[in-house]
């Protein structure tokens, strides 16, 4: 994984980057509802086009997104194959006892598209929004839940810390992996057991250092008076623009269109 870490924020100056995080989160929610409630293949295809335009517009290099897509290629393949084979209907062709049905292929394609859109949508959100903005947006949107005694601020703090430390952990695991490789650990051995043992040699030090880091972080937060209150300052820095409102209205129309088709 000597590549850009999946979903890591990439600095940029596009319109997508400058959108309010709440807008992006709301739009992503619309996307999820839209694509999960629609069974129309063409609608989903149009949706995919829309996301690709947004990615292109955000200046995120398509090549690196394409490469990260390779990470889920087996998931996509398995999803498609299972749907194609296990759905009842008119058989298109037969392989032994298994028959691929026309309905299966259609449903398989639809689910494949859904997964790709979900993946690209979330990648776009993560790659164009800093973790801090993202958690401020989430905190604002979920704040009403505070009324029913759900401590949203804890939840968003956890999420923002998790986002913040994913790249650090990936980096650290890579360096531990290098260290174990230079002691002869093999990660591509034909023997599964020896591969497992090699991965254990990464996991244990990684876990140990994460524990230490968590402890340090907790003390650092304590020493700077973290009290678990909603982060009013961070939320005040959020600002809605006219573009945000237009975009939400546009996405709402797209969503409605999907529900009506």
């Amino acid at each position: 994984m000597n590549d850009i870490k999946l979903g890591q924020y990439v600095h940029g100056n596009s319109l997508i980057h400058s959108l309010d995080p709440r807008t992006k989160i709301i739009c992503c929610t619309f996307i999820v509802i839209g694509i999960l409630s629609s069974h129309n293949f063409w609608y989903l295809l149009a949706f995919l086009g829309l996301i690709l335009v947004a990615i292109k517009y955000s200046g995120t290099p398509l090549s690196s997104i394409w490469r990260s897509m390779r990470g889920i290629r087996y998931l996509l393949l398995i999803t498609f194959l299972f749907q194609a084979v296990l759905t009842q209907g008119e058989a298109v062709f037969q392989v032994g006892a298994l028959s691929v049905t026309r309905e299966g292929v259609v449903i398989g394609l639809i689910n494949l598209l859904r997964l790709v859109i979900l993946f690209l949508g979330s990648i776009l959100l993560l790659m164009t929004t800093t973790p801090m903005k993202l958690s401020a947006g989430l905190e604002f949107l979920l704040l009403p839940l505070n009324k029913i005694k759900i401590p949203v601020q804890y939840f968003t703090t956890i999420i923002s810390i998790a986002f913040r430390f994913i790249p650090t952990l990936v980096e650290e695991s890579l360096s531990i992996k290098d260290a174990q490789r230079s002691r002869g650990a093999r990660f591509d051995s034909p023997k599964i057991l020896s591969n497992l043992k090699s991965y254990l040699a990464i996991l244990i030090p990684l876990l140990a250092s994460s524990m230490l880091r968590a402890e340090d972080l907790a003390e650092a937060m304590d020493s700077r008076c973290y009290g678990g209150n909603p982060n009013q300052y961070r939320m005040r820095t959020l600002k809605y623009d006219r573009v945000d409102i237009y975009l939400i209205i546009f996405m709402a129309i797209v969503l409605l269109a999907g529900l009506l088709i």
């Binding site: 850009i4 090549s63 290098d178 230079s182 002691r183 002869g184 040699a201 030090p205 140990a208």
Partner: protein, 289 residues
């Protein structure tokens, strides 16, 4: 003496073709003979650690060639076995310890070499002794409960046990107390006494290594700004002052005396020689004061 490391026109780029593309090393040329000790200096982000990984075959050059022990590291099949010849001690190696006792931790690499268990045992004991630990009282302890300095020595023993032809140590002194630093220097010195073993020490503190090193390489932002023998570096006052490289105290005294017109031999290697030189100067200056 035969060349053990030969680096020709080496460049290395991280994540080429992405938003994070970064040129880490530019047109580096270094060659090192068997048995020599190279001190590799440079500030943060100068490419020192990248160079270390290139020597060990963990990464391979974007352009140029790195030949180590006669093995061209751009050939994948050969590169994968390079760890047997080049031992790489990473920064803060104590953080990669994962076995439940000291013995297994030091033996990890040896078992990957498929050695017999009796050979493993003798090498583990030997390596622990070399880093100044008493094997019998250590082998059954859990590394977690030991201090950072001892853990580092265990991690280093794990590499020394492999008996690599080339040992690369990345910032071996960082974060150690004075006693720990002295122990680390002793380990390096002991290795140097064996004339066939080559060592590379990566550091940002010249003072530690200058007396031990045969050759010095200085990296800045991925460029090699100096490569040569120690006396040659000492004549480059411009480089020394540019990188704020602090010389050992006795050399500073020698240079200061020279600057005041008192002829002093500046090719002294340790405190003892410096003392003798001072006595010589004082006795020759007698009567002038």
């Amino acid at each position: 003496m035969s060349k053990i490391i030969d680096i020709k026109d080496l460049s290395y780029i991280y994540l080429p073709g992405t938003a994070y593309q970064q040129q880490a090393l530019n047109n580096i040329n270094i060659s090192l003979n068997q048995g020599e000790l190279l001190g590799l200096f440079g500030g943060n982000g100068s490419g020192k650690s990248t160079l270390a990984k290139l020597l060990n075959g963990l990464i391979y050059p974007t352009t140029g060639r790195v030949t180590v022990c006669g093995i061209d590291t751009s050939i994948k099949a050969l590169r994968n076995d390079l760890w047997k010849k080049v031992g790489l001690v990473f920064q803060y190696p104590e953080q990669q310890i994962f076995e439940s006792n000291v013995y297994d931790e030091v033996a990890y690499g040896l078992r990957n070499l498929d050695l017999s268990e009796s050979e493993v045992k003798s090498r583990v004991y030997e390596a622990l002794k070399r880093v100044g630990l008493i094997p019998n009282s250590m082998v059954n302890l859990s590394p977690v409960k030991l201090s950072g300095g001892v853990r580092r020595r265990i991690a280093i023993a794990g590499i020394l046990a492999l008996e690599p032809e080339i040992l690369v140590m990345d910032e071996p002194m960082a974060g150690l107390d004075p006693l720990g630093q002295k122990l680390m220097l002793d380990i390096i010195k002991a290795r140097q006494e064996n004339k066939t073993q080559t060592t590379i020490i990566i550091s940002h503190n010249l003072k530690d290594i200058l007396a031990l090193a045969d050759k010095i390489a200085i990296l800045e932002k991925g460029y090699l700004v100096f490569y040569g023998e120690v006396p040659e570096l000492l004549n480059h006052i411009d480089i020394l002052s540019k990188f704020r490289l602090e010389l050992p105290d006795y050399l500073q005294v020698a240079y200061a005396l020279n600057a005041r017109g008192i002829k002093t031999n500046s090719e002294i290697n340790n405190l003892h020689e410096a003392g003798l030189e001072l006595i010589r100067i004082i006795s020759s200056q007698k009567g002038k004061f």
